[in-house]
Amino acid sequence: MPKIVSVHSFRGGTGKSNTTANVATLLAVRGQRVGVVDADIASPGIHILFGLEEDKMGHSLNDYLWGKCDIQQTAHDVTANLGNDVKGRVFLVPSSIKAGEIARVLREGYDVGLLNDGFRDLIQTLELDVLMIDTHPGLNEETLLSIAISDVLLIILRPDQQDYQGTGVTVEVARKLSVPCMMLVVNKVPAAFPTDEVRARVEQAYHAEVAAVLPHSDEMMALASAGVFVTRYPDHPITAALKQVAERLSRSG
């Protein structure tokens, strides 16, 4: 059964897109067909991680939401950009990076119900095993919809008081939406923090499973958005932790 995974964080800058891109890649390495939707329409960016050049972007999610094209036309196969170890496929649905189109979608909004139709069509036509939705930070309508239709909600947070509070809100809202499976990823954890201690405290605070604790990494910072980390650093501890997330997602539901 295909599954929808929403990747969310209450605040920006938590590494949500990076986590999405890396986990999607690792799932594809495991042989799965993975769709990634950049639903962060206000501040898109995951296409850069997948090496999708702007002039080759063609149709975007915005075009679909405005009825200019089918959702399938917005999906770009980025598998070739992920190295030779990927046995499955990764399809990316980018959001428009044109300033005018971003301004328009923010000004006029769109029918969020179309998102669900689009997601369902993508899963069917591309024969996806997993559809990952890189959501906009915070809890606006389209994010709530994404969460509401998800089989798995992956919440990314940093060890930071503001994130703790915001994540508490997200977890509570997700429970009210009856999301079947909810997992947390604690990202950018200072190296001095004991990983097991962080995991235990976060799980205790939210009564939710922690899929991974990802330490702060200079290599990750240096790579920035220049590529998908797990393909550049296959033996790095962060890659190992992200594999746990991919493994956990594969087992969920």
Partner: protein
Amino acid sequence: MTSTGNILVVDDDLLNRLVLSTNLQEQGYDVAMAENGRQALEMLGSQPFDVVLLDLVMPELDGFQVLEQMKHDSAQREIPVIVISALDEMESILRCIEMGATDYLPKPFDAALLRARLNASLANKRLRDIELEYLEQVNRVMQAAAAVESGTFECDSLNPVAARGDALGQLARVFQNMARQVYAREQSLRQQVQELQIEIDEVKKARQVAEITETEYFRDLCARAQRLRQRNGK
């Protein structure tokens, strides 16, 4: 005159003691006298001496016994002992040197020879003191390393070693600096772990959740989500 060393003269013969002590005092030494071996050991146990001039034949404890006991006492074994003896007691002199005596002084005393042998013994004693102090401070550094390993290290314990101007002093200073840095990092870690306290303002959270969930949109979304899941076959 500034003292050039503390000398203990041990001899049961009063005249010998007086001659020796007068001579030594004239040369600038501080002199204490013991009239037998037992008294000598008591004095050695209660005050520091740089050299012992030791007669061999004495009542109560003789010179051999004093020497033997000194060599078994860690605080006294490094004190140079010059045996006072007649030249015809060469066998005894050799025995004493085998037992650890530094030198011997033949009777009757020769002032120049006494001065020369005392100076040599004192020079050796001072070198040995420096060596022992060095070894003691090396031991302190080793103890410090063990204390670091067991988590009981106190930085100030190395202050006497760190005050040295030589390589050992530099080693101790580097050691102290590293330990201080580690301590600072530990403090920082404790601070960070405290920051790991996850404190959620439940009242604020409830308000924020209510702002989202007590809306028409959310109620509609919940109903739609259920329908959508059913439609998606979940």
